[in-house]
Structure formats: C-alpha cells, structure tokens
C-alpha cells in the first residue's frame, strides 16, 4: 500500500494545490461572479462544493480546491473578497484543518471478483451501498489522498462511474473557516 500511496502522491500536479473557503451571501449569481474571477485569470478550479451555512439560508459556504501559481491566487482571493456578496475568502493551505471528501464508485464485477473488492473496501473503511447481480457501488469517505489511493487500487477492476464530492474543510479549534 505504501508504495502505491507514494506513486499516487508523486503523480499529483506540480503546481501547489490550494483549498479556499468562501463565505457568501446566498444571492443569485454569486457563484458565477466567483467563477468568473478564476476564469478570467486562467486559473483551474479542481473542485467546488457549495452548501448552505446556517439554517436560515442567508449565507452559503463554498470550498474550492484549485492549483496554480501563488501570486495569481493572491490576486484571485483579493478579487473574490472584493465581490459585494462575499463575506470572506480564506486560503487554508498549510493550516490546521479537518478535511474530508466523499467518493462513490460504481464497479462492474463478476461474482469471482467481489471478495477481493470487498476486502479492499474494508481495509479503507469504505462501504458497499449498492449490491447488484454484476455491479457494486462503493462509498468512501476521507481525505483527498486516501481517496486517490483507494481509487487507484480499484482501477485494476472495471470502474463504470466515479463521482467525487470535492473536498470540504473546517479549521480545527474555534478558528473561522
């Protein structure tokens, strides 16, 4: 496993990956405005998660992972912060945060392959959530790197579909995300 993990990590893109948390007012168009700030500067968004922040629905939370040069990113965060409907935008890269992600994998598999897949799933605390005659859906939860390694292992089988939620994070302690 450790050899595979090392391979997966070294295959990551060379540009540093940043995780940005944005608190926004839940207004129409706010997502487009933020996406345009990235797009105009040719910055690649790798994942984007939007969810409501508190029950009353006035604010939403966005978690964006992206990669590119840090100078451009500094400008992007400033321009995002400048948007009227953005309350704050923080780059949490290198900070103490809890992060997690959900992955769903649909595999086409013969009965003979099932045991192996179930063993790998168990090793990674992944759960089989759909059990068909010739298919399985496996759900895995954890940090991005864990998902990367797990999915790498499953590539020897026939992956039919793959859905990843994208990373969500929260700062540890009482710090603001």
């Amino acid at each position: 496993m450790s050899a595979t993990a090392a391979a997966a990590i070294s295959a990551a893109p060379t540009a540093p990956v940043h995780t940005i948390s944005i608190l926004v007012r839940n207004k129409p168009g706010v997502l487009v405005r933020i996406a345009l700030v990235f797009a105009r500067r040719g910055y690649n968004i790798e994942s984007l998660v939007v969810s409501t922040d508190v029950a009353d629905g006035e604010f939403s939370r966005m978690t964006i992972t992206c990669s590119g040069d840090p100078v451009t990113l500094e400008q992007i965060i400033k321009q995002v912060t400048k948007l009227i409907d953005v309350v704050h935008a923080f780059d949490h890269t290198g900070q103490a945060v809890y992060e997690t992600e959900v992955g769903l994998v649909k595999l086409k598999c013969a009965i003979t392959e099932r045991t192996e897949i179930l063993q790998i799933a168990e090793l990674y605390s992944a759960k089989v959530v759909d059990y068909g005659v010739d298919s399985l859906i496996v759900r895995i939860v954890g940090a991005k790197e864990k998902l990367d390694v797990f999915l790498d292992l499953l590539r020897t089988y026939q992956i039919v579909e793959l859905v990843r939620s994208g990373k969500v994070i929260m700062t540890r302690g009482l710090g603001t995300t």
């Binding site: 007012r25 400048k82 009227i84 309350v87």
Partner: protein, 593 residues
Amino acid sequence: MASSHAPRPLASVPPSPAKPAPVPAKAQTGAEALIRCLEREGVEYVFGLSGGAAMPIFDALVDSKIKLILVRHEQGATHMADGYARSTGKPGVVLVTSGPGATNTVTGLLTALMDSCPMIVLTGQTISPMLGKDAFQEADVTGITYPVVKHSYLVKNPNDIPRVTREAFHLANSGRPGPVLIDLPKDVTSAPCTAPFVDEVDLPGYRVPGHPDPDALKKAAALIAKSRKPVLYVGQGAVISGAGPAIMKLAEKLQAPIVNTLLGKGACAEDHPLHQGMLGMHGTAYANKTVTDCDMIMAIGARWDDRITGKLSEFCVGATKIHVDIDTAEFNKIVRPDVSIAADAKLAIEDLLPLVDKLDSADWLKQIGDWRKQFPLKYAKRGGLRAQHVLDRLDELGGRDCILTTDVGQHQMWAAQFCLTTKNRHWLSSGGAGTMGYGFPAAIGAQFANPGKKVWCIVGDGGFQMTMCELATAALHKLPVKILIINNAYLGMVRQWQELFFENRLSGVDLEGNPDFVKLAGAYGIKAWRIKRPAEVDRVLKAAMDWNDGPCLVDAEVMKEDNVFPMIAAGAARRDMIIERPKQKMAKPEGST
C-alpha cells in the same frame, strides 16, 4: 490590514439627503417607487432611451422633477452619465430598455468600471415568467455584464426596489466607485410596491477603508524621511477623494515633486512649480526621468498601470515604494510596495502630514529643473497646422478654466500634455478602457451638471464619429458644449505605431470618406468653424470660447502624419524613452497593445 484598522461597519451609512415620508402615501407601482428612490438620492438627470420593457419606468418619469435626457444611442447615455459623475462626484444615472438597449451600455459600463466612475444603469427586462425563454428583446443582461460592473441586481420582487436602489447608490459611490446595474422585469415595475423606503444598507461583505492604519503610516513616514529623491505619483483616487489640497501640502512640506497619471490630472494644479505633469507612455520627459531616478515613489490613488510602469522588471528598481489605495486588491497586483496603506487618499495624506518633515531634496529638485530645461514639450511651429499648436493655444486662451473631455488617441495625449489641468474634476478622459466615442457624450453630461462652466470636448475625427449622433441631443438642449475635432483623417495613434513598428505598412487606419464636419454641424443647426492654418487658430478658438448660443464645433484640419512624443513603447523600459522621431527602425513592442 492590521487589527487596529478595523473596517468601518457599513450600517453607519449616513441617510440620503432628501427625506420624504418613510412610507409612501398611496399605492404605487414598482416603477413609481423606483423614481421616488432616485429623487431621494438627489438624482437630477436620467440619460436614457426608451423601449418596450422599460415603459413603466419612462411613464413614472413623466410625473417626476427628474429631467430625462433622451439620447440617440444608449452608449451615449452611459458616457453622458459618466461625464456627469466625473465632473460632480455624484453618480450618473442611465435608463434603457431590455435586449439591445441594455447590451449597448456594456462599453459604457466597462469605461466606468476601469476608471472607478459611479454610475447606475437601469435596464428594462422582459416579464419575469418569460426570463430564459427567448422572449422578444430578452437578453441575459446581468449575465452579460458581470465582468463590467461593481455589482448588479436582477429584481424579482417589486418590494425589493427601495432596498436595491439604496444599496446600488451606496455601492456605486463609496469605497472605490464603480457602475451598478439594476435589471428590472416589466411585471416587477408594473406591480404594486408597498415596501417602505430605506436609508441604511446591510451589506456584510462590503467594507470600505477610511482612515489609515497608524502603524502603516508611521512606517511610511520613516521611509519617506530617508528619501533624498522622492516623487509623489498621483492618480484618479486622489481626484475622487479630493485629496489634491492635502497632497499639495505634503509636496510643499517635503519639497517633493509631483507627477500624475492621465486620470490624476487636476487633483493637484499642474502649473505648480513642484508639478512635473503626466508620467507614462506619453508623459513629459522630465516626469518620466523623475520617476526613473527617484529613490522613493509614493502612489496615491494610482494603480501602477502598464502605461505608467512600462517594463515592470526595470521600473523604479531600488526605489522605496509606498502605495495608498482604498482598494486593497490593488496592493501586490502589479508592484509589491514596501508599505501599503489601505485608506481614503485624502484621509491618508492628512494623517501623514504631521508625521513628516522637509526632506533634503534641493539637489534633486535642481536636477529636475535641469531636465525641464533640457527636455521641454515642444513642437515645430512651421510646416502646417499641428494639433499641439491648437491645444497649446486652447490652454493659453482660457482652457484651464474649462472642463475638458477627450476621446482616445493622439489628440488625447497631446491634450494631456499641452492642456494643463489646475482644478479637480475638470479633466474627463477614458483611461483604463480607452473608449473611443467617450469624449463628446461625456462633455454633454458634464455640461448638464455644470451649466455655469465652459465645457470643451477634444476629439479625434475617428472617435467623434462613433457617438456623433448625440449632436442632436446637444443641439436640442442648446448646450453650449464646444467640440474641437483634431482632424487628421486617420486613426492616428495606430498609424503612428504602424509607422514606428510595422515599417509604415498602413492597415485599417485611413479615414477616407469622413464627412465635412462643418456642414454636418450645420445640418443640426450648430455653429461651426474650420481651421486650416496656424494663423486662424486664435481667432476661431476665441470665437468658440465666447459662443453661447448652443453647441459649436471647430474642425481643425491638422497635419496628417504627426506623432506623439515623448514615447515609451509598450513594455519598454523608461530609459528607452524616445523624445523625437527615431532615425532607425524600432523593435516591435512587447507590452500589452
């Protein structure tokens, strides 16, 4: 931003000046509520062009004291609102219909955004049940305009109109000003609005710096104290905040020279001995030499534009850099300053004044004085009529007391060089966007806003033809706007570049087919003169200056192939500035356009 410099909460916004009863007396439509809101904001003029989706709003205007100025093209309305706004500091208001009416405002929105100009653009929209269904004259206007507005709204509920309008005016003219668009579906403006008017805004994501952080200021003062070759680099932010008098005090106290950007003209009087005029691509040689050799440069409401810095890696190498800006996104965007001061320019300089003393800059000022003698702005007095001569005479014959607007190109640069600006908000020019067609409508807007002042618009024959349909607007209102066409029958700036960098292979620059501008003016009943020889310049300019019976036009047929110098080619280093027509072929510029 340091913690001691907590952003001001926006809840403390002062209420708008006019204050009728907080709750409307009778039932009103969304459109009527909108117009009441505009009245409460102190709006005097709406520049617009009607159309189906905006009809309820135009109807509500009939009963208002707000004057509707009907334009001939929506782009003209935006530049008029822009000219109104830049000459007064109050937001200009535009009202247009949906679809093409709204898309015609995009150029004006970009122009206003790039130059931090407060503007409200109201666009009619198809009825809300038809949104996204390709209704007649439907366009996704908020979608099209996202990148060219400070903020925008699509109003879905008539009861949002009072809040949205108040927020829009607050956003347009606070912090770094900019255009705000409100898209108004026809059913929303037709439906009853029962919401009360509001005075305060609740925008938790919007923070405006006010006074500077004292620690940043102390750091700046310490760096300034070390300088022997200082320069103050003044931009549009100083104009907007009215920082000019404070900057003059600072310059005099430090004994530091001032240079300004194209848009910074007028913040500080350009005829002051410490003022070296405009810097940058076509700035004065002495302003550029001052910036090249300085040991400390302090940007005040300026953003290190590529027209200013030239080749960035060679810009002010070794000089200490201080950056004062109300928009914190400008810090580290182009230049990494040694100290950044997030504040209103006027407050920053006023707070800085007690912390600084006179600098030992006598040698530096003498050096600059020598450059002034050695490299003055100049032009040949013989060999035909030159634009510089016309503009130099306009300056001499009272131009400094007038509001000047320009278009974009050679005439703009010559005007910036030869027409000194000595009063704040008396120089209106499209800088960031470089919008041809800006000058004439901007002059109309400025004239409406300043009926007691003389307004000249200096335009090229190319740009003027982009918005000259507004001759009808100016003539109808008998506005005494004075149009000076620097007519070389070329798109002159591009021709200059083709001559210098493309072996004079002229492509797409010859404006053969121009109309006779004097006859054209006549068709609108507008007085016009033509100047062909230097000897005619003074007589015609004086006559135009004294003309008060509506607009007038001067068609100055200048030599066709003159060039603007000094020049630092795009992306070139400051030391490569050329003062006159080069003898040898020049390398193609690497910088942006």
